[in-house]
Amino acid sequence: MNQVKEFGTAIRSTLILWLIVAVMYPLMMLAVGELFVPFQAHGSILRNRQSQAIGSALIGQPFTSDKYFWSRPSTIDYSAGKTAAPTGGSGASNLAPSNPDLPKRTKVEIDRLKAAGIKPTNDLVYTSGSGLDPHISLESARNQIPRVARARGLDTNKVEIIMTQSIEDRFLGIFGEPGVNVLNLNLALDKLT
């Protein structure tokens, strides 16, 4: 009898707490998001004039063409292309510093960068944690300016100005690291021409 009562209490309290924290609370946050910050709540999705999605302001994209700044290497290729899961995905290499596959992979990456005339920097050589990193370091962006300017037939100063406008600084100038949002930067370049 005592145990029946004990489990009765457990079941009832589970039910009511579930209603509060797993139903009411998420519904409330969904409503707040929809009402006050709909752009962010739906994933900061960027659209073209035909209102087709071209990406998210927060999610990186793979770039291979010379007229674009390149992103960091990604083990999941930014959840894009034919190999992307229909659900979307994220992920990292999880290679240990002692794993012989790591220097092999970075060697290939460094050779590719050198062939393109870009000085290899750590962010362009190491893969990111999410596989979706939207940023590259300021140095990596600067190193790519001559290539992009040449491909687009633009003055390097002009490209540098646009690059500087795409810098996302540290929070309050202190926390985190500054980076250049590659998608925003390439979008700004496309708008120019």
């Binding site: 004990e6 209490t9 309290s13 009511i16 707490l17 924290v21 797993a22 139903v23 609370y25 998420p26 946050m29 969904l30 910050v37 709540a41 739906h42 900061s44 999705i45 999605a53 994209q61 793979p62 770039f63 674009y68 930014y78 959840s79 292309g81 899961a85 229909p86 659900t87 979307g88 995905g89 994220s90 992920g91 990292a92 290499s93 999880n94 290679l95 240990a96 510093p97 002692s98 794993n99 460094i110 920097t121 750590n122 962010d123 050589v125 190491y126 990111s128 944690g129 979706l132 990193d133 940023h135 370091s137 996302e168 929070f171 202190i174 926390f175 985190g176 690291e177 980076g179 998608l183």
Partner: protein, 575 residues
Amino acid sequence: MWQGLFQIALTLLPIGIITPILGKYLAVVFEADPSTRLRSKSVLTWLDSVFSHSERAIYRFSQIDRDQVMTGWQYARAIFASNIVMGIFVFILLITQAGLPFNSTGLIAPTWDTALHTTISFLTNTDQQHYSGETTFSYASQVLGLGFLLFTSAATGLAVGIAFIRGLTGRSLGNFYVDLTRGIIRVLLPLSIVIALLFLIGGVPETLDPPITATTLDGATQIIAVGPVAHFESIKQLGENGGGFFGANSAHPFENPNSFTNLIATIAMISIPAALIHTYGIFAGNTRQSWLIFGMVFGFFIISIGIAAMGEYGGNPLINAQLGSSQPNLEGKEVRFGWAQTALWAVATTGTMCGAVNGMLDSFMPAGGLVTLFNLFLQIIWGGQGTGTAYLFVYLILAVFLTGLMVGRTPEFLGRKIEKPEIILASVVLLVHPIAVLIPSAITLAFPETLSGISNAGFHGISQVVYEYASASANNGSGLEGLADSAPAATGLWWNLSASMSMLFGRYVPILALLLLADGMSRKQPVPMTTGTLRTDTVLFTSVTAGVILVLGALSFFPILALGPIAEAFQIHNL
């Protein structure tokens, strides 16, 4: 480098400010002194009445007698009963997800062992994930199932911590259901709402939309997973759960878009376990002692961060040779966080048993691997929600016992004699962890081909296996994720089942022992303090405690550290 260390220091500064405020608030919520009530007529009293009404409604519905005081056994039985009910409920939700709504990507049911491991993992506040959120669980499973356990597992831990503090300071333990309800209604839910709002403003999505198909500038088709993330993310950090909505956890730009959300998330995961030390001080009427303990833990914490940060800043010598200069290790890290915030996070998440990651621990340099493993072994560099603070006092009790033996006096703690039953229970609490970590590790390493699923061969492989069990038993949940621990890998079944055992063992056995220990202490007659009493609120005694912690931790686990990260460091640096 100096900017990195400076921003780490500034990130930690708010902890010192939040600790006394939140610690006081927790003491009021859990009635350290029933006569203190909020007096001022302000928004606080309005909130207080909202909370009281909700609580009364919950007690009425659940038929909880809030004046009923529980013994240690009763408290533990209430925890077991409620956790069994919650676990069965969520397990059913997960395996039936194919037939439930909010499954826009048409996901099928996970394998039974993945569902079982996930349920136990979230139920025990571990949140070890042998799956990727995007590809395995529907919005219904994540929000209605896992999102529910994020709150209850954190509140259960908090309740145990509070009951333990009550017992230690000579009070009755209280009522589990009242503590569970209060923890959620007055602490976790309101703070989660505030943090979720900040996350929303910072850019974290909160939507039921299906994944978005975008055409990139270069013409590729990109699939972007979204979801109701913001509300999930806030309690994930605050409750030290750590189970991410997406596979990449807090490295994912939707879980942690920028340094603003990263700062909030870092502070959120440390705030409650740090504050609970101060809450103890208020219960015991000795905040001098609680500040000393806080200082000791903070000292361990700072040293750990320093070691991890230097390792990442120095980078990987093998890659630096290719680059031609020394550059920080960014493998598995995001540009926006960099080496400093990622190293800080790694230490905070393994110290507090949150287990969320904003950079991949498997790719950390051996220095980071060493301190994260050491944190998991000690379990007190802040420690888990509620339970971590209790472990801290178990170490204190052992230190009292040892120093008592040295000077030849009956050991006493807070005016109560430490006797045989207390030492037995304290030993049980501390022995469970090495047993639940080392025995399954030994079995797994004995069958490297069929069971282990190691992805980084050599010394790092030993770290991968031991880390997985240490994380499970400490109820942390982070992992060296290269390990093939999930379906469809052949080793997934073994990892799911064996890690589940470590999580259950590492969660419920210490909880029972802690409650019985607290119950015993609360029933002892206080002995008056004399000049012969060993004072426990001195720098000397706190230093001895720190030594006891280090010696016990080192004795149990040093061979693993030597074989894993230390050997790997020698290998990389070619020494």
